[in-house]
Symmetry: C2
Subunit: 456 residues, 2 copies
């Protein structure tokens, strides 16, 4: 422990905390250049909010933008909400527009508007338009920076323009250029490789390829399909009139889908109002978690009230109280396995709401085997422990039946919720445990009431 404390003084976060305290801007700059991204990320989240604020004020906006680009969007939004809006604006200005929109959509409305007000009017207005698109359609994921040329330009004119603007070239990470007419309607795409292989005075229109475009309102799923089908890293986004509005990068679609999957998993564990970060204020973390917990406690009390209906049976066979939590917990475990498989199949598009019957048949066949196996195991252990074969039968049968109920609910409920347009990631778990708890208590105590003469 002693040794550990000594060595901690030399850890990067310890050093950075000291540099921030000293207000040594040059040393901070040097520090951020010398540590790996991984180390920097770890350090950033050990700092208190006020230290983060100071750190960012010491960094060059471009450097800060790089750093913030590395963090998951919801966390990055938290960092930007924490600094002044003009600082945030100068950092956001350094990002590509798809990243700008991404992060502004995560920031609270007032705060986002305050940041936009600090930016250049033209850029801000463009962003305001982009933010209006839902985050999961092409318009919300595209970037508006791209290079386009008239189709009567020659290859050498294009190359000359490109060489004259090496900076933009790097920013746009260009692999494709576009040809637009005077109404900004898309004529086609110019591939870099075609520029390589063409005579300098060839006209753009002669090397133009037909562009595979996506519609500005295409959904995330359609976009994923599109990129799976066409092996390209970016494509033009067009409106109803084939006017080109922006470029959609494949990476924007896949990272949006991954964030969705991650957020679903957090939700299923009760982190429901966006991702939690331990540097957030304690009260706000507590409030977010409590909102979910208070719904659950009500459901839990409803489920447990079943037990109150059988107080006489319980009084006669007090040992039943031991088996109530076992049966309800184990059924919960079985049901959660089914939820996990259904959620995964929903995400992948393998299962759809219309597959409910098929999914149920698959689940019940596993539920039969597992229910009987677990029921026999628990029944046998109960018999050996409490030396009453009838108690073993009651408890075993209750677990067997309740396992079948649990896998059925776990398998089918996510599909049903999807059909009803309720978020299955949030609601499946509580619905499952409430029903399996109720059924579990009812089965154990109901069967025990019937078998009461043999249990006493």
């Amino acid at each position: 422990m002693e040794q550990n404390n000594l060595s901690q003084k030399d850890t990067p976060w310890h050093i950075l905390k000291q540099l921030i305290k000293d207000g040594n801007a040059d040393a901070i700059e040097e520090f951020t250049n010398s540590v790996s991204r991984d180390e920097m990320l770890h350090t950033l989240f050990i700092l208190s909010q006020s230290e983060q604020k100071l750190l960012i004020s010491y960094l060059d906006p471009a450097k800060a933008a790089d750093l913030i680009d590395d963090i998951p969007t919801s966390y990055a939004a938290d960092v930007l909400e924490n600094i002044t809006s003009d600082q945030a604006a100068s950092i956001v200005s350094e990002m590509a527009s798809d990243e700008q929109v991404d992060i502004l959509q995560e920031i609270e409305n007032d705060e986002a508007e305050a940041i936009l007000n600090e930016m250049e009017v033209e850029e801000a207005n463009e962003l305001r338009t982009l933010i209006e698109f839902p985050a999961n359609v092409a318009g919300g994921l595209m970037m508006t920076e791209f290079l386009s040329y008239p189709e009567n330009y020659s290859v050498s004119q294009v190359i000359k323009d490109l060489t004259d603007r090496p900076d933009d070239y790097a920013l746009y990470n260009v692999q494709y250029l576009y040809a637009l007419d005077k109404d900004r309607k898309l004529q086609g795409v110019i591939r870099l490789r075609d520029l390589v292989f063409s005579e300098p005075n060839t006209l753009v229109k002669n090397i133009l390829k037909k562009a595979n475009t996506v519609f500005v309102e295409s959904t995330q799923e359609e976009l994923m399909d599109f990129f799976e089908e066409h092996e390209i890293s970016a494509c033009p986004v067009v409106d109803n009139n084939n006017r080109m509005l922006g470029v959609l990068r494949q990476s924007a679609v896949s990272s949006s889908i991954n964030e969705k999957a991650e957020s679903d998993h957090q939700k299923s564990q009760g982190i429901v109002n966006g991702e939690e970060l331990r540097t957030m204020k304690t009260l706000s973390r507590s409030k977010r978690r409590l909102s979910w917990l208070s719904v659950n406690i009500i459901l839990n009390i409803c489920a447990a009230s079943i037990i109150a209906m059988f107080e006489d049976t319980l009084t006669s066979v007090i040992a039943l109280a031991i088996f109530l939590p076992i049966v309800s917990d184990m059924s919960g475990c079985s049901g959660n396995q089914s939820i996990a498989v259904s959620m995964r199949e929903l995400t992948l598009g393998i299962a759809r709401p219309s597959d409910m019957l098929r999914v149920w048949l698959k689940e019940i066949s596993v539920g039969l085997i597992n229910g009987i196996s677990l029921g026999l195991l628990l029944g046998l252990l109960t018999w050996l422990w409490k030396d009453n074969i009838y108690l073993g039968m009651v408890v075993g049968a209750a677990l067997a039946l309740n396992t079948m109920i649990a896998v059925s609910i776990g398998g089918v409920v996510p599909l049903l919720l999807k059909k009803l347009e309720i978020d299955p990631a949030v609601a499946s778990g509580p619905i499952l445990t409430t029903i399996t708890d109720m059924c579990g208590f009812f089965l154990v105590l109901g069967l025990a009431t019937i078998m009461l003469p043999w249990l006493i």
Copy 2:
């Protein structure tokens, strides 16, 4: 229901099932070309294993490879294990080597060897070498197909060679070319854009850029850092002697990391031996799930045996039986929230095992607020319901204390397991629920025993 049955006859999977039954290869080919990737994926997983087998035998291997490339690796492996090894070999041969290795690593050893035996000897031997690399280091993620030229070639020679092999060009998805010496040591990288802007008789060595390389044994985390730092889509993989072994695509690293995250989430819900697919055989699905459930039932019985120690108290105040599951379930919910946040922070590299104390302080502060809030709520409801303020105090205090225990365990245990090199995704949940169940039962019944005179 009637109507639903009628319309289902026209759904793609219904049509495809019929085509497979008819053995109409041409129509099957046409079908697969006409439906979207999404539709095809859904259809594929509605087919029985024997129908899948027939479908793949009717498809051209390149077409089948495209289809299989779209499926998550573990599922794809399942499909390939299900067909004959020479069919599987002809499909695998159509893939790029990083995808080949990916999928062969998921297939059982015997089966993978049988597929390799059906492939060309040279290709198979190369794959055998690649498979030896762990799946999460550069060697296991790289592809061995790349284009290289001697550094004394001229730009026009390179361009001529490229134009002579448009097929390879497409396969390799080239953005970079490499210059190697006669020992295959890497001299540098040729960027496509430099070919565009150079005089035809410029020598390769004059436009060569220093390559940012990764070492063949670099880990996934190091590779992620590398790609975050250098904004390139692919980089050369070299050995100790700077010999170039392959090309690592950024997409291979990010999809490997996503599959790891997904598999962690499945594990945390009790799907532990690789992803489950509902087209798998019922017995194998059942066995996989049971392995996890049987560990849990033992832990559950241990926890519940605490209740047996207090049978006298329970007999005196039978209403306590209602609150045992409520307190243990609710603490489980609070603890799972903490696990979710810790797992996320571990994945992102924000939290490390050395941060245990810091994480605990953050958790206990939330635990205090939430524990007291939930305890007051449950205590109040209990008082109103059972008309006994002392029962309310017992139950409320037990929940408050157990919530603090639960968030502490949930926050810290994942970091501790990581330090002990035990997979936190698998073990955190069961450890949490076992301890919180035990503590919950002990607190409710222990406090009740102390307060017994006021409860009766």
